[in-house]
């Protein structure tokens, strides 16, 4: 949405999913794909609140534009599910966008990356995800109540990971590749535990990259190795089951000071929020 047009959005849906005798569906057939790709999930733009995006806009403007994009995309294929562009779940951006687009979207996205050189900060910061999910969920429930929406609206936590070493121009001098240590694997497992605990509110959660840059698999022309975070991802993917349980624990919570953890301001500046943590 940042640099594209509403016509392009319509064309993409028609190209991917169209079954009629139309220009874009025919182009797909001509390119060797007779059957539609049936792409089900469509995000309405990416991080448009951010100064790093071309086409950055205010939440109110995003709502106005997003509604028109959603309309034409749904007209092209009513079976698609739309994801509104969220920020960190608890920002004003999220509230305005959820109120404005709840009637037409099926999910609202959250992107939060965490990470810090300090060991305890690094392994506890993912609890921000749990706070983000709960606050965002409250916004969604309020909008559903106010707008009398009976169908569910979920959270699509569609970018998450540990990412701090290569986030600044200074840090990128050695390349874009984030190299993960063991404490990052602990933080990733903490995220996965949170997504399981909050699965009723978060039907979708995914990493942005599986191979290279901020990813569990590292490659170069002559080989690959598995980063530390690959291991918890593989174990949970293979062994976690479909039904989440809520077991009581008699463990004593680990005492820890309230901490300050990073988010991103609307203009791309770093902002800081307070949070406490528990195990």
């Amino acid at each position: 949405m940042g640099t594209g047009t509403i016509d392009e959005a319509q064309a993409w849906v028609e190209y991917c999913n169209g079954t009629s005798n139309t220009y874009w569906a025919n182009l797909r057939r001509k390119n060797g794909h007779e059957e539609p790709h049936n792409v089900r999930y469509w995000g309405l733009g990416n991080e448009l609140y951010g100064g790093w995006q071309l086409g950055q806009m205010a939440a109110e403007d995003y709502v106005k534009r997003g509604r028109e994009y959603a309309k034409v995309m749904k007209l092209t294929d009513p079976s698609i599910e739309l994801i509104s562009c969220g920020q960190n779940g608890w920002d004003d951006w999220d509230r305005v966008v959820i109120d404005g687009l709840a009637q037409i979207v099926d999910y609202h996205s959250i992107h939060i990356y965490t990470g810090h050189d300090d060991y305890y900060r690094n392994v506890f910061e993912p609890h921000q995800a749990e706070r983000a999910i709960r606050v965002c969920s409250a916004f969604i429930e309020q909008a559903r109540y106010n707008l009398r929406i009976t169908r569910p609206i979920g959270i699509a936590y569609d970018e998450w990971n540990i990412w701090y070493r290569t986030r600044t121009p200074e840090g990128r001098k050695g390349g874009l590749e984030e190299q993960f240590d063991l404490s990052d694997a602990l933080a990733v497992a903490t995220y996965l535990n949170i997504f399981i605990r909050e699965c009723e509110r978060v039907p979708i959660a995914n990493l942005a990259q599986m191979v290279n840059v901020i990813a569990p698999i590292f490659t170069r022309p002559d080989g690959i190795f598995l980063q530390t975070i690959y291991h918890p991802l593989r174990l949970y993917a293979e062994y976690a089951h479909a039904i989440a349980l809520d077991p009581p624990s008699s463990a004593t919570p680990t005492p820890c000071r309230p901490m300050r953890t990073p988010g991103h301001g609307r203009n791309g500046s770093r902002t800081w929020g307070r949070s406490s943590c528990w195990t």
């Binding site: 305890y120 063991l182 497992a189 530390t228 918890p232």
Partner: protein, 92 residues
């Protein structure tokens, strides 16, 4: 910590992170009901130090180690080493 089960209720998986940097934690997992734990397997992600990385030179600095646990009726005791992730699979 998280816990999941399959449709039959006979397979349960726990994901447990011990984030203490120095101390291991020994704890007891207890399943509800009367079905005994038939087998318990732990898959542990750990390494020498929280700062250790995998790399082309040392791809196995952090790996998964599997071990069988000894269950007793509906309980199983497990020790979670410092700075580790353990996925525990129970068959009931």
């Amino acid at each position: 910590m998280s816990a999941t089960r399959d449709d039959s209720g006979k397979a349960v998986t726990l994901g447990i992170v011990n984030r203490h940097r120095e101390d291991a934690i020994t704890t007891t997992i207890k399943v509800g009901g009367s079905a005994p734990i038939l087998s318990a397997t732990a898959h542990e992600v750990n390494g020498d130090d929280p700062k250790v990385l995998n790399s082309f030179d040392r791809p196995d600095a952090v790996v998964v180690q599997d071990r069988q646990l000894t269950a007793s009726g509906t309980t199983v005791e497990i020790t979670l080493p410092a700075h580790s992730v353990t996925v525990v699979r129970l068959a009931l």
